[in-house]
Every structure is written in structure tokens, then in C-alpha cells.
Amino acid sequence: MNIKRQFIKSFTLVLLLALVACGGTAPATKAIAKVAPDKIIIGNAIALSGPNAPAAALSQVPSYDLWAADVNAAGGIYVKEFDKKIPVEIKRYDDTSEVGTSVQLVEKLIVEDKVNFILPPWGTAANFAIAPVVSEHKMPTLGCTVSSKQLRADAAKYPSFFGVLNQAAEQGAALVAVAKELGIKTVVVIHNTDLHGLEFDSEVVPQLTAGGINVITDKGYPPGATDLSQLLREAQAAKPDALIAFSYPPETFLMTGQMREIGFNPKMFYATVGIAFPVYRDAIAAKGAAEGVMGAGTWNPLVSADAKAYFDRHVAMFKQEPDRWASAACYASGQILQQAIEAAGTLDPAAVQTAISTGEFKTILGTVKFKDQYNTTYPGNIGQWQNGEFVIIDPGANRQAKPIYPKPNWPAP
């Protein structure tokens, strides 16, 4: 029995030591290093596998990498505190498209790896989840693939989280304005029953009705549906002027294919996510079939010389075009971060956060200024494929070309 008691004591001791060894002890107060780091480490936990990987691989990861390459090509970010240009390095983790993992990895980056800054993951859910975490640690984070009324309404609770991407409110308003301008009287709305579809639905449909447009039917379908033909046939039978869909890329592409199959040619077709993807123009709605399709967005290389330069560099580096919605927002996030660091003159996240919330930034999206932590300017909120480019058709000063109406019939395959 004595031996066993000794064993227990030593076991407990060993367990405690193991706990300590595997993670290190809680440190005492750390003095802030005043020595210039060789690199500014920017942590980025993002979906490299799992269902969110395709969207991240199109809109977010390449833009971040391109930004880092551009910064380093110019020698780095100038930090006044050390009076030198410091190059950046992105430290990337795979969050496997899981929200719990996103949260844990962001905490790892901030707390254990002690990165200088972070770039957010992909998607509304993950950004929603990390907003409180980054705010607790006072780490400014610029979300470029997040669209959520709820999150925006709670912005004050998460002072470190900023939204660069345009949101449902602006996009809905632009859509309704264009619809009214074109004299559209009747629409059929379909939406997926995920957060995106539901939010856009609750945001846009009242605006449509208030604008005097008759919403004939408004039906939801589960995300991941394999067949939308019945919904589309029903819409076809109602003979609306426009079909409006709040959908994710798989469903957007599916409905386009099925509309072509059943010969449904509404005079206007608008879907939210996916239309602005280059692959939509090239593959799904092939052989010029994308002509006239409208979608959420948007920016394009015609917006400014900077935008065109970004576009060309993106194509050169990745052999793929950036999408016409979020890609630019993600690149712009990098630019904002850089300019905020330069304005603050230091790598202290709190100072940079203040710089972000109060400053004005020159980006490929134009001048970005945050009002209540959300970006108020965007090159456009609704776009249309015309002659191979997704042009901005918002009413007003941003318009690049008159909307094509009615949309030409889907060409024969």
C-alpha cells in the first residue's frame, strides 16, 4: 500500500509537470519588445478544405497572397516606430470549414503564436464567431466575406471587427432601384433557407413591395437542393418580368442550367452569390449565355487603373480571374491594414484599430471610410454581364453602362 501511495503522488506530480511542459506556464507580465521584428506576421486561419474551401480559394486566399507579394515587392510596410520597412508574412492555418476550429485557431494565432495582425476566415458564420474573440483581444480584423444584418447591428459590441464588403441593405436598395427603373411590375423570388437567403429575403422583399412591385411568389428551398426545376417551372408559369434568387453558388449554377433546360427566359434574372464568379461566365452559362444576367457585387477592372492593375496581377500570379464581388474587398482589406499601420506608425494593434476606425484609405475599391465599423463606399452594388465583363449598373454616378433589358434568351447549346 505504501508503494502505491508513493506511486499516486509521483503520478500526480508527473501529470502536473506534463501539463506544464506541454504548454508552458502562464507567463508573468511581458515587456513590449522595442526591437523591430524582421517580419510582420499576419495570421490567417481559413478554409483550405471542406465545403467553404472553393469560395475561399476563389475570393480570399489569392487576394491575400497577392497583397502580401505586392507589399513585399515594395520592400514592406513602413513602420515609423522603427523607421524602416518591414516585409509581411502570412501564417496560414486550415480551419476545415468548421466554426469551432476557426475560433480556436484565431485564439492560437493571437495568444500563442503572438502574430502581429490577423486576416479573417471565409464566410459569415466564421466571421460572426470570431468577432467577439478578436474584440476581446483588441485585434483589429477586416471582414471581407461576411454579409450579415445581425452582425452589423451588433457592431458596437465588437469594436475590433470591421466590415469591408457591401451588405444586404445597400445591395437590396440597388436591386430595387434598377427594377423600378426598368419598369418591372412582377417578380418571383426564390431563396435558400440558410442565413444568407433568409436575410436577403427579409431585407429585399419588403423593399420591392414598397416600391410598387408585385412579388407573385416567394419560396424557399434547402441549401444543397439537387433539383429546382419544379420551383422554376412554377415561376415560368407565372410569367413574371423578373426572377430574383437569393442563393449560393451551387444553387445559382443549378438554377441557371435548369432555366435553360426548361426554356425559362424571364426578362430579368438576378441571383446573389455566384453570378459574379468568372466560372459562371465561362462554364455554366457558356458561349455568351451569361449575357444580361444580373448579380450581386460588385467591382470590375474598369473601375480604376488600380483595379485594372490588381486584376492583371491576379491573373498573372494565379492564372485565374478574381471574382467580381469579394476578391477586391479582400485585397482592399490588406491595403487598409497597411495604410492603417503606416498612419499609426506602430505595430500596436490597438493603435492600428483606432487608425482603421477613423481613417480614410485609398484602395482598389476607391476611397474607403468606415462608419460604425462598416464600409460605406463600394464601386457598385449590382452588376450585369455585358460582353464578357460584369459591369456596374447601379443607378447614379457609379453606373458604367445601361442595363440590358430584356435579357436575351438563353442561347441554344
Binding site: K4, I8, F11, T12, L15, L16, L19, V20, C22, G23, G24, T25, A26, P27, L48, S49, R92, Y93, D94, D95, T96, E98, V99, G100, T101, V103, Q104, L105, E107, K108, V111, E112, T124, A125, A126, F128, A129, I130, P132, V133, E136, S148, Q150, D154, T193, D194, L195, L198, E199, S202, G220, P222
Partner: protein, 353 residues
């Protein structure tokens, strides 16, 4: 067996368990912040794996309903977090999971083997879609925000649930119910014949093991902070505990714990050090484990340990054999030969004079 009997006969193991829990209680004060976070995740998976093993480990009814039972806790916490304090939510979630598992148990009385597995998989998918539909039609929003409560508080709750799960599993294993479960696992018809009320034990054990899953879910919602039906009822959470349990081995209590710990650490290591190869390396490890560690790591480790001890004993034995041969055979011969040689040398020297 009475609890007092177990307490007496398994004093040693029980003390180790209690000592470990006490040691873990000091973790927040001793560990770095991120290590604590890692530990929370490890403990969460351990709770799921140990609870899963309580039922599925012995009876061989592989349940893939873990995601549903855990997810209910996560979702209830997301829905109720504004109206009720966390401890109450934890209790309610445990109860809800109990009821759901009870229902599943009652419905699947006659289902065996692969049909049981598929049923539990289907239940998870069904619940996820029902919740999504409900939210769409009645609340018009999907996705809820859960405020965080601080990592130390989360750790406290998780540690408490972990301790209870561990102790429950321990006592169950060594009690008559535990043996009955094993009997059911081997041959439930025979078990029925001996007089074990198979139905009642199956359902009650399954339902009780679910309580811990639901409770853990309720706590984890505060860490995940954003919950929607897809996130709460993610099927991966059904598969991972099964893999971890099989990795560690289900026949001993340490199996699921070690399996869950190593697995979670391996996963975290791979997604940070090899982010683009994480699935490949994980999958290869899984296949290697299934192929080469039947019975699990713990059992295999014990086998290796025994093999090592046998080798050591063999070596010692051979050494003893050599020594006794030396003593009995060779040393006398050598001494005699040396003595003869010495005498011869003396004689030669003597002759030279």
C-alpha cells in the same frame, strides 16, 4: 456490485482518476492561455468518446447519433442563452439529450448491426433539417449568436462534466450493469436467457450516456459563439468519437481518453503545421491505425509492454544460464588449466637452472 465493493477493490485505479481530476483543476492557474484552450477541446472530445464508449464500446452497437445528442445541447444553449443561466441550460440540455436517446433507443429495439448505425446517422440528418425548416418558418432566421463566458469558466464546466463522465464510466464498467452490457455485446440472445433485461439496460445506458454529450454541447456553444443547424449537428462530430475510441481501444477505460487526446493533438498539429496536407495525413494515420492497431492503442501498448518484459525476462534467464555454466563447467576447467600451465612454467624454469 455495490459501489462500496467497487470502491474497495478498485481503490488504486479510482485514486488515480481522482488525482488526475484534482491535478486538472489546477490547470487554469498553471497553464498558458492557449494550452488551456487546447485542453478544453481535448476534454470535450474525451467526454464524447468516453460517453460513446459507455454504450457502444461494450454492446458493439455503433451509434452515430453523437452529433445529434451533442448538437441538441449546442442548439438549446444558443436558443436559451438569453433567458436562462448557463448551469440551468446545461441541466436542461442533459435532460433533452436523455429524452432523445431514450426515444432512439425505444425505436431501435429490433435494429441491429449496420441498420442501427444507419438509423442513428439518419436521425442526425433528420434533426438538422427539421431544425433548419423550423427556424426558417417560425423564427425567419438561421444562425444564433452565443455570448462567450470566458475560457476559465468554460474549462470549469467541462472539467466538471468530464469528471462525472469518467467516474460514471468507471463505476459502470466494474458493476454488474457493465458486465451485462458486455454480455449483450457478445450475444444478446444468450444474455436475455440468463435473465438480463436486455431492452431496459440498453435503453437506459444509451440514454444516460447521452446526458454527458448534451451537457458538453451546452457548454461548448459559448466557445463556438455562432451556432446554426449545420454547425450544431455536424456529422463529423458523430464519426470522430468513434474513430478516437477505436484508436485508443474500447476494452479499457484509458482507451477512449488516450485515443481522444492523441487524436485531438494530432489534428491540431496537422492543421497548423501541414494545412494543405491535413486530410491526407489524417486519413493515412486512420488507415494505419485500423490496420495495425486492432483493439486500440492502449491494448497494443500493453501487448508491446508485455512483449518487452518477456524479452527482458528471457535475456535475464539466458544471462543466469551463462553464469551458472561458467560457475559449474568452465571456471573449474579454466582454473585447472591455469594451475597446470603455472606448474609447467615453474618446472621449465626449474629445469633451466
Amino acid at each position: 456490485m455495490l459501489i462500496s465493493t467497487i470502491l474497495y477493490e478498485r481503490k488504486f485505479a479510482l485514486t488515480i482518476i481522482i488525482a488526475s481530476i484534482v491535478a486538472l483543476a489546477f490547470a487554469p492557474a498553471l497553464l498558458a492561455e492557449y494550452t488551456l484552450i487546447k485542453l478544453i477541446t481535448i476534454l470535450m472530445y474525451t467526454i464524447l468518446t468516453v460517453s460513446w464508449t459507455i454504450f457502444s464500446g461494450s454492446t458493439n452497437y455503433i451509434s452515430l447519433a453523437t452529433a445529434a445528442l451533442f448538437g441538441i445541447g449546442v442548439y438549446l444553449s444558443a436558443v436559451l442563452n438569453n433567458s436562462l443561466p448557463l448551469p440551468v441550460i446545461i441541466l436542461i440540455s442533459g435532460l433533452a439529450s436523455f429524452i432523445l436517446a431514450f426515444l432512439i433507443g425505444t425505436l431501435t429495439l429490433r435494429l441491429k448491426g449496420v441498420y442501427f448505425i444507419l438509423f442513428t446517422l439518419g436521425v442526425t440528418a433528420l434533426i438538422r433539417n427539421v431544425v433548419q425548416w423550423w427556424e426558417t418558418h417560425f423564427t425567419h432566421t438561421v444562425g444564433r449568436h452565443v455570448p462567450g463566458v470566458g475560457n476559465e469558466i468554460v474549462y470549469g464546466y467541462i472539467l466538471a462534466i468530464f469528471s462525472i463522465t469518467l467516474l460514471a464510466s468507471f463505476f459502470l464498467r466494474h458493476s454488474s450493469i457493465g458486465m451485462a452490457l458486455q454480455g449483450i455485446g457478445e450475444n444478446d440472445e444468450a444474455a436475455e436467457h440468463i435473465g438480463i433485461n436486455v431492452t431496459r439496460i440498453k435503453i437506459l445506458t444509451f440514454a444516460c450516456s447521452a446526458i454527458f454529450m448534451g451537457a458538453a454541447g451546452a457548454v461548448m456553444a459559448s466557445r463556438w459563439r455562432y451556432v446554426d443547424p449545420g454547425i450544431a449537428f455536424d456529422p463529423l462530430l458523430s464519426f470522430l468519437p468513434v474513430l478516437m475510441a477505436i484508436f485508443g481501444g474500447t476494452s479499457r477505460l484509458e482507451g477512449p481518453i488516450i485515443g481522444a487526446t492523441i487524436f485531438t493533438l494530432l489534428r491540431e498539429f496537422l492543421i497548423t503545421k501541414y494545412p494543405y496536407l491535413y486530410m491526407l495525413l489524417m486519413g493515412l494515420s486512420l488507415i494505419a491505425i485500423i490496420l495495425y492497431l486492432p483493439g486500440g492503442l492502449v491494448v497494443q501498448a500493453i501487448r508491446w509492454w508485455i512483449w518487452l518484459k518477456i524479452q527482458w525476462a528471457k535475456t535475464k534467464f539466458q544471462w543466469q544460464m551463462l553464469k551458472s555454466r561458467w560457475r559449474e563447467e568452465w571456471r573449474p576447467k579454466v582454473s585447472m588449466w591455469l594451475a597446470q600451465w603455472w606448474l609447467r612454467v615453474q618446472w621449465r624454469l626449474g629445469r633451466k637452472r
